[in-house]
């Protein structure tokens, strides 16, 4: 989910569900935890009469993901 948000400006809940293949509940749980950690920003709105949840990475989230990528790269290089 973080990787998908890393390469776009923002995306809504449906888009992330389709792209990640996660279920509604699973994605929702990830979203709550990442929002609580300050890694993603969640905006809820109604588009017409339909609920719409838009997510984007915060600066802290972007930086944390870059650190994670760097760490993983090092681990794979050491293998």
């Amino acid at each position: 989910m973080m990787a998908h948000l890393y390469v776009v400006e923002s995306a809504d809940f449906l888009f992330l569900m389709k792209q990640t293949g996660l279920t509604f509940g699973n994605l929702s749980s990830h979203m709550t935890r990442l929002e609580a950690a300050g890694f993603i920003e969640v905006e809820k709105e109604f588009r017409g009469k339909k609920p719409n949840t838009r997510l984007s990475l915060t600066e802290a989230g972007r930086s944390a993901f870059e650190d994670y990528k760097e760490n993983m790269k090092q681990i794979f290089e050491e293998l």
Binding site: A3, T20, F24, P51
Partner: protein
């Protein structure tokens, strides 16, 4: 994706770009723009129509996507390109191809090419411009299928350049018109297929129930 799996950011980015272009809307809009541009060659009075189409088609594209595409795929705002870099790249490619074709024409004719010769080879030049655009899209989407458009554009461009039109300007007009119709038809076909293969989805409402898909077209 598990924590110990290597994340390929480039692949994810390409898949997102690829998925966002599967709906055929971009092809339909390109088709309409090319058709309006070809009408400009028929009568300069159509320039106004072309300018209007440039302004309003972008809005139209957003409306079509909001009405038909986002309820099926969800909404994504792609990363903004650096305008200086993109425009700079387009101009550089434009001048490089233009210069190359000019040199080839000078060498082939043994003199500075006439305006008729320049018009005659314009379809091939446009075909090569399509090639540049499709190479860019290939990099963005990771899909080699887009290069079929480039092959088609160059093959048709060469045919129109070599065919003996009474007025070389007619060749340019017909070429742009044919490309416009081709983009429009393929775009419309992709759009129709997209609507039938992608059902409308909805987020859950506040009570936690998955919303009903209201429409299918």
């Amino acid at each position: 994706m598990w924590m110990n799996e290597k994340i390929n950011i480039r692949e994810i980015r390409q898949k997102i770009y690829h998925d966002s272009m599967r709906d055929g809307v971009t092809e339909m809009i390109t088709g309409v723009l090319l058709l309006c541009a070809s009408l400009m060659f028929v009568n300069s009075g159509f320039t106004v129509l072309y300018l209007f189409s440039m302004i309003y088609l972008n809005k139209g594209m957003h409306r079509i996507r909001e009405r038909y595409i986002h309820p099926r795929t969800g909404y994504v705002e792609l990363k903004r390109e650096e305008p200086k870099r993109t425009v700079g790249g387009i101009f550089l490619y434009f001048f490089a191809v233009g210069l190359l074709m000019y040199v080839v024409l000078v060498l082939a004719e043994g003199a500075l090419p006439s305006s008729d010769a320049m018009y005659r080879w314009t379809p091939t030049f446009i075909g090569l411009m399509f090639l540049g655009a499709m190479i860019y899209l290939r990099e963005k989407t990771g899909s080699t299928g887009v290069l079929a458009w480039a092959a088609y554009a160059i093959a048709v461009g060469l045919f129109f350049s070599l065919y003996g039109f009474t007025s070389p300007k007619d060749g340019v007009t017909l070429y742009i018109m044919l490309m416009g119709i081709s983009f429009l038809l393929i775009g419309f076909y992709k759009f129709r297929s997209f609507l039938t293969t992608h059902p409308v989805m909805q987020e859950m409402d506040e009570a936690g129930q998955q919303g009903e898909a209201g429409e299918t077209t």
